[in-house]
Amino acid sequence: MLRFILRRIVTLIITMLALSMLIFGLSEVLPIEPALVILGRESTPEARAALSEQMGFNRPLPERYVNWLARFISGDWGESYRLGVPIQPLVMRRLLNSVILAGFALLIISPISLFLGVLAGLYRARWPDRAISAGSLLTISLPDFVVGLLLIIIFSWWLKLLPADSSLRGADLDLTQHWRKLVLPAVTAAFVLVGYITRVTRVSMIEVMESPYIRTAVLKGLPYRTVIIRHALRNALIAPIAIITTQFAWLIGGLIVIEQLFNYPGLGSLFADAARSNDLPMIATSSMITVSLIVFSQVIADVLYGLLNPRIRFS
């Protein structure tokens, strides 16, 4: 097991390095002159040249990469070109918002999808399964902004129950008052994922229920409940739990469209704005954070999987 974990960590470090190079490289490819963005169009070429020299934009590529990486790791994330403010506090605030939203969504997703998936697996090919399978196929096919739009139309425009705009101003962080703003974005995010995780759980459950050891358990005369809970679920839920772990990280940084649709101030929205305005350091930082979280969660998911599966834990 130890070897398993260590190998994962080594892979993690290598992947992170590759990612940092990828991100840095991409931001290099952008045909933008940073000095131009910072100083604006009215600036003179001389001023831009001076600024470039001062900010170190002309140094050789490897040197800039190493500097950037070093600064990133130490938490010095520079200033936004677009907004002119330090990136770090902004990103952290947005990150917090995204984590809250992701947590909320996950709270909705997990019990529903695990339950439906297990149900569909147990009643394979009968009507509960058909209904759940059809439903999940539908939900994974609906693009997130379509779902969001529909929800807005129903709950905001028609029923007037929930706000269509989830933007938060500084003091709005008091969630007990403003929890309504979280509902629609979280439900929208949950919609798509529920379908996916339900399908994964269903497949896992079917595989387990058809396995010889379930046959052994039933033919030993164990009560059905024991067979399902002690024998089936413990095997069937391993894979879905690992996947939910990775999806949590994705929910943090990947909800670009949903955040834009609802004007929710999260990490994804920050990235989208940065991409649209060529805000290099912001692009680089926000994407690094998101991607790091995702890769890290993959490692955690793998380790979790290994812990839950005795074949790996005691190999």
Binding site: T11, I14, T15, A18, L19, L22, I23, L26, S27, V29, L30, P31, A134, L137, L138, I140, S141, L142, P143, D144, F145, V146, L149, L150, I152, I153, W157, A164, W250, G253, G254, I256, V257, Q260, L261, G268, F271, A272, A275, R276, N278, I283, S287, T290, V291, I294, V295, Q298
Partner: protein, 292 residues
């Protein structure tokens, strides 16, 4: 009587229906039927749109901004008074063509990488797969945005961006298939004939990967069309004047109060297309799986 030298009695052949027969038999499958109908409908629209539409895509009816559906404008008008019905129909063209092209390109790139990496093995394979993993660690949209931001938004660039972002997933799939096939004994038999790597990859391995690749590609076309519309929604899709469904949803979002159909109709159009692809992919995967 020396029976053992008699040829094995001719057994009744377990008839193997050809792939086309099985696909044809799918027409009885409800999900596939619905999915295929949707797709055929949109392809038809994409082809026939210029002949059907009552207005031009940029024809602005003055004073008719954000009007709800009426006899003159079945889907209403947008912020510039343009007929939404026309724009949706014409917009179908790029929604059908672009995803297909980009996934086609992704398959070529991804399958090649997967084939070579999987067969070669060793540190080359490790390295390539790490890079693929790194690329797949990005939420898809993030990758698109970065690429588009780098090279600018245009139809060609969108295709390239989607292709580049989709290829790693395909390469993973193909590599997995290759690894599995590589250990099969008919590959060992080929190596014992001294067959070249090229022969083994293309004549022995590749034919066994076609079916899974096709099914996977179909699902990805659905997601590609969804992603392309998401790009449009974010304002980074194919630039005007081409009517972009995603862009139309985004523009109409705030006019929701006046006319909810304005964002709703293009959104449903996108949804139907993705659903269509997924239904067909689901049904086809059943048919193709039993061939293994």
């Amino acid at each position: 009587m020396d029976q053992s030298l008699e040829p094995v009695l001719s057994q009744p052949v377990v008839t193997k229906r050809s792939i086309w027969q099985r696909i044809f038999a799918l027409r009885r499958n409800l999900t596939v039927l619905i999915g295929a109908s949707i797709l055929i409908f949109w392809v038809f629209i994409a082809i026939a749109a210029p002949l059907i539409v009552p207005y031009g895509i940029n024809e602005m009816a003055s004073g008719q901004v954000w009007k709800p559906p009426s006899a003159a404008h079945p889907f209403g008008t947008d912020n510039l008074g343009r007929d939404i019905f026309t724009r949706v129909l014409i917009g179908a063209r790029q929604m059908v063509v672009l995803p297909t092209l980009s996934v086609g390109l992704a398959v070529i790139i991804g399958a090649s990488i997967g084939l070579l990496s999987g067969y070669r093995g060793g540190w080359v394979d490790e390295l390539i797969m790490r890079v693929m993993d790194a690329m797949m660690a990005f939420p898809v949209l993030m990758l698109y945005l970065m690429i588009i931001a780098a090279v600018g938004a245009s139809a060609v660039n969108v295709v390239i961006a989607v292709a580049v972002a989709t290829a790693p997933g395909i390469s993973r799939l193909v590599r997995g298939l290759v690894l599995d096939l590589r250990s099969r004994e008919f590959i060992a038999a080929a190596r014992m004939r001294g067959e070249s790597t090229r022969y083994i990859l293309f004549r022995e391995i590749l034919p066994n990967t076609i079916n899974p690749i096709i099914v996977d590609a179909l699902v990805r076309i659905g997601y590609a069309s969804f992603s392309i519309s998401a790009l449009g929604f974010l304002g980074l899709g194919v630039p005007p004047p081409n009517p972009d469904w995603g862009g139309m949803v985004s523009e109409a979002r705030n006019a929701l109060i006046i006319t909810p159909t304005a964002p709703l109709i293009p959104a449903l159009a996108i949804a139907s297309l993705v659903i269509g692809f997924n239904l067909v992919a689901d049904g086809l995967s059943e048919a193709l799986r039993s061939e293994r």
